[in-house]
């Protein structure tokens, strides 16, 4: 009885946070002298207004969900993997690399596609392992190490696109030469969407949920994240667990990069990560370790992203508006969680012995 009551209160606070975030965004719109209702209407129309739009939302949803799934590992281990963007990029680079190696061979397309995904996962995992090694062996905080390596990854991808992997003739921001259609992921006719990538992302989050919820691995990772000193005394090799969580997260980020290459752009482009890494951080913070919530929240955030694409054209507003709404949503949810805890504490007097 009591538990369900507190769950209701928690839910009410969540809803309150969403309302506050919308109010805040409305305020921003009013200050920017834009009609709020019209802007929200455009976002809704722009995301679910037509089958093409809906498909685009799913296209954005896949990398976002993959990245969030990976980040659940590092968050559980108490780590802030801000290097996630670089890990997506390295995944995309590794995928492209393998594709370039295999595309002219006689291997069946399915093998090449699988090799591309595996390579992407390995690329992301290795780049994340670098962050992990810097932290565990070099004492470099993972936030700084990760952000630093993001810049390196960006430089690397630009160099590849304009250097060794440039299109015949001249390198351009439009990316490398597109791969032949035979080694794309099977697409839905007339859309940029592939059900295979949606399936991959859904399988990924379910895997993460099971791992974190029901296994020794998940519980030990949680213990390391909550108190690595005590977990060491309890006999858990905490540095190994931190490394593994980085590499798993990197592998998921790499898969996100791979789907962008294999299933969306069919080539390597400079902005291949599209900011999904940082957006995934927001989703992961918002869902507060509840893995399955990642599905609806990532879907919602993807819809906001796609929905705001039209804003510059229709309302002369910058499409960063979706970022304002997403950011304020996270801020208000975290804030309301703090308020809720104070409120509950007062009610039960939990702070004493």
């Amino acid at each position: 009885m009591e538990k369900s009551k507190s769950q209701w209160i928690e839910f009410a606070f969540r809803v309150g946070a969403v309302i506050l975030a919308i109010l805040f965004t409305t305020l921003v719109l009013i200050v920017a002298k834009a009609p709020p209702l019209k802007a929200f209407n455009e976002i809704i129309k722009g995301s679910i207004g037509s089958p093409v739009k809906l498909a685009d939302v799913l296209v954005a949803f896949v990398p976002l969900l993959l990245v969030t799934s990976g980040l659940l590992f590092t968050f559980t281990a108490g780590l802030y993997n801000l290097g996630i963007e670089g890990q997506i990029i390295l995944g995309a680079i590794f995928t492209t690399w393998i594709y370039r190696l295999l595309m002219d061979t006689a291997l069946p397309p399915a093998v090449i596609i699988i090799a591309g995904f595996v390579a992407g996962a390995i690329g992301g995992a290795l780049w994340a392992a670098l962050v992990g090694a810097l932290k565990t062996f070099g004492g470099v905080n993972e936030i700084f190490g990760g952000l630093g390596l993001n810049f390196v990854a960006t430089a690397l991808i630009i160099w590849l696109i304009f250097g060794p992997w440039k299109q015949p003739g001249i390198g351009s921001m439009s990316g490398t030469k597109p791969f032949p259609e035979t080694i794309w992921l099977p697409m839905v006719e007339g859309f940029r969407l592939s059900w295979w990538s949606v399936g991959l992302a859904m399988a990924g989050i379910v895997l993460v949920y099971v791992l974190l919820k029901g296994t020794y691995f998940g519980l030990k990772l949680k213990a390391v994240g909550k108190n690595f000193h005590a977990s060491f005394i309890l006999g858990i090799p905490h540095t190994r667990f931190m490394m593994v969580s980085f590499m798993l997260c990197g592998a998921f980020a790499g898969l996100a990069g791979a789907t962008q290459v294999i299933g969306v752009y069919h080539r390597l482009i400079p902005s291949i990560s599209s900011g999904y890494g940082f957006l995934g951080l927001l989703v992961a913070m918002l869902i507060n370790y509840q893995a399955l919530l990642a599905i609806p929240v990532a879907l919602f955030f993807a819809a906001l992203n796609i929905g705001s694409i039209q804003l510059p054209i229709v309302l002369k507003l910058d499409s960063a508006l979706s970022g304002v709404l997403q950011g304020s949503l996270v801020l208000f949810v975290v804030l309301m969680e703090g308020v809720r805890q104070r409120f509950m504490k007062k009610e039960t007097g939990k702070d004493g012995e």
Binding site: Y216, L219, K226, H229, S231, I233, L234, G349, G352, E353
Partner: protein, 489 residues
């Protein structure tokens, strides 16, 4: 200042921690607050010092009703609390710590504060260097600093929560002398303790707490038996001493030298027998902790040899020791021993050997229930460990130890526990000894060391005494060694 507590009630969920407490303490009194763990002493003191709010009742200071919402309110009313673990800032200097709670504007007048600090400490014969860093002070000195700070802020009521935990006996004498001076100055002192002799020796009057109520107020001369009866509602006797140690040494230290940034302990030779209990005594920071850590591989010896059942473990990492049947129970429960945010059940899952990949939750729910019952832990399998009281956390820590074990290392097994719980814990430990587990433990409680050990090692400034037979050693002899008398230069 005269303090009157009127009908104070405080509940935490179903627990009525303070059930209508009424207590009058005139100015210039050292009021003893005696009671076992969970009797409601700490709750009442937290209410008085503004850390928590009472549900009902009122506090009168010099006859006027005072509403104390926060610790800073409390100090404005002149009430200061000295916590069991000093609340200071280790990397900062003494003088910065001293002025940190005061309103001094943007640029505090350090010169003046320093003079006042020196003047104040001379009143009590303290000798703290205001420019020293706090982490170079002993716990006793940090406590002195805390007292000076509170007095400087204008405290007229001082609450001391188990102040003698972790300080040396000479510092304890100094503390008691200080408290007597303060009482003569008209300050009101609350002395919270579960140590009978301290309370009897120091306090002008004693209030005995049991289950959230004041069950008796006594004035000298005190009779110990009466106090014990009031505390527990019955008489308590220590268990009989028994000798269980076997013949063949389990753990051998040969010429072992350990060192860390603070000290070097050279040439330790010790054979430990199955079922034997070795007590490590000494002032905090004399090297006993380093030795204990060396016993389980958390500190690598720089010389010598450690063998367990003939197997050479010298220099092996901690998890090799764990795998060989060694367990370590650290002193700081929530920092090193338990994982805040995990439930009791999750702790038991982690403490047992992993079976398979997926967790068998049903099996562990039963294991957890069993252990909770066996160790008398007040909590449910789903309770987060931080929601347990200190004594229950300690019981949980000990319940986490695997069976069987060859070698058990414990820091302060009964610190912060009441007598009854301590006896219970030692009963459990002795049970393990009968199964052949050898125990090495650190304790600041000399009675505990002598009563439960077979042999005792005394540490002083990085030197180790010969093993002493606990049956033929007295508290006085031990005290002298701890103070450094009898050590070869």
């Amino acid at each position: 200042m005269k303090v009157e507590l009127r009908n104070i009630h405080k509940s935490f969920g179903p627990v009525h921690a303070n059930n209508g407490i009424t207590l009058d303490v005139p100015a210039g009194t050292i009021q003893g607050i005696l009671g076992e763990n969970g009797a409601g002493k700490s709750t009442l003191m937290k209410i008085l010092s503004g850390f928590i709010r009472e549900d009902e009742g009122e506090i009168l200071l010099d006859g006027k009703v005072a509403r104390i919402d926060t610790p800073s309110d409390a100090i404005k009313f002149g009430i200061g609390m000295l916590h069991q673990d000093p609340l200071d800032f280790l990397p900062m200097r003494v003088i910065d710590n001293f002025i940190i709670g005061a309103d001094g504007g943007l640029f505090p007048n350090k010169k003046q504060a320093q003079n006042e600090f020196l003047e104040l400490q001379s009143q009590f014969n303290f000798n703290i260097d205001p420019d020293a860093h706090v982490d170079s002070l002993t716990v006793g000195e940090r406590q002195q600093l805390e007292i000076l700070r509170l007095l400087w802020l204008g405290a007229r009521v001082l609450i001391l929560d188990e102040p003698t935990t972790g300080i040396s006996s000479s510092q304890r004498q100094k503390l008691f002398a200080t408290l007597k001076i303060l009482a003569e100055q008209g300050k009101t002192l609350f002395f919270v303790s579960h140590k009978l002799e301290e309370v009897e020796g120091l306090c002008h009057r004693i209030a005995v707490f049991r289950q959230g109520e004041v069950v008796g107020e006594v004035q000298p001369p005190y009779t110990t038996d009466d106090l014990v009866r009031m505390m527990f509602g019955k008489e308590v006797k220590l268990g009989e001493k028994e000798k269980i140690a076997g013949e063949q040494a389990v753990i051998q230290f040969k010429q072992v030298t350990v060192e860390d940034s603070r000290m070097r302990i050279a040439n330790i030779n010790l054979d430990i027998f199955p079922g034997e209990v070795i007590g490590l005594a000494g002032m905090a920071g004399s090297g006993q902790r380093q030795f204990l850590k060396a016993c389980c591989g958390l500190l690598k010896p720089v010389a010598g040899k450690v063998t367990l059942h003939g197997k050479d473990l010298t220099g092996k990492p901690y998890h090799n020791y764990l795998g060989s049947g060694v367990a370590y129970v650290p002193a700081s429960r929530l920092e090193e021993g338990l994982v805040e945010g995990l439930t009791l059940n999750e702790h038991f899952i982690l403490a047992e050997d992993q079976e398979g990949f997926f967790i068998n939750r049903d099996k562990f729910r039963d294991i957890t229930r069993e252990r909770i019952k066996e160790f008398n832990i007040k909590g449910r399998p789903g309770s987060p460990v931080e929601s347990l009281s200190g004594g229950n956390q300690q019981r949980a820590l000990l319940a986490l130890m695997k069976t069987p074990l060859k070698f058990l290392l414990i820091e302060h097994p009964t610190r912060g526990l009441d007598v009854e719980s301590a006896i219970y814990i030692w009963g459990k430990l002795k049970e393990r000894c009968r199964q052949g587990t050898s125990i090495v433990f650190i304790s600041a409680d000399l009675e505990e060391v002598l009563h439960y050990s077979d042999r005792v090692l005394v540490f002083f400034g990085g030197k180790v005494s010969e093993p002493l037979d606990a049956r033929t050693t007295t508290v006085d002899q031990l005290g002298q060694l701890i103070g450094g008398k009898g050590f070869k230069a």
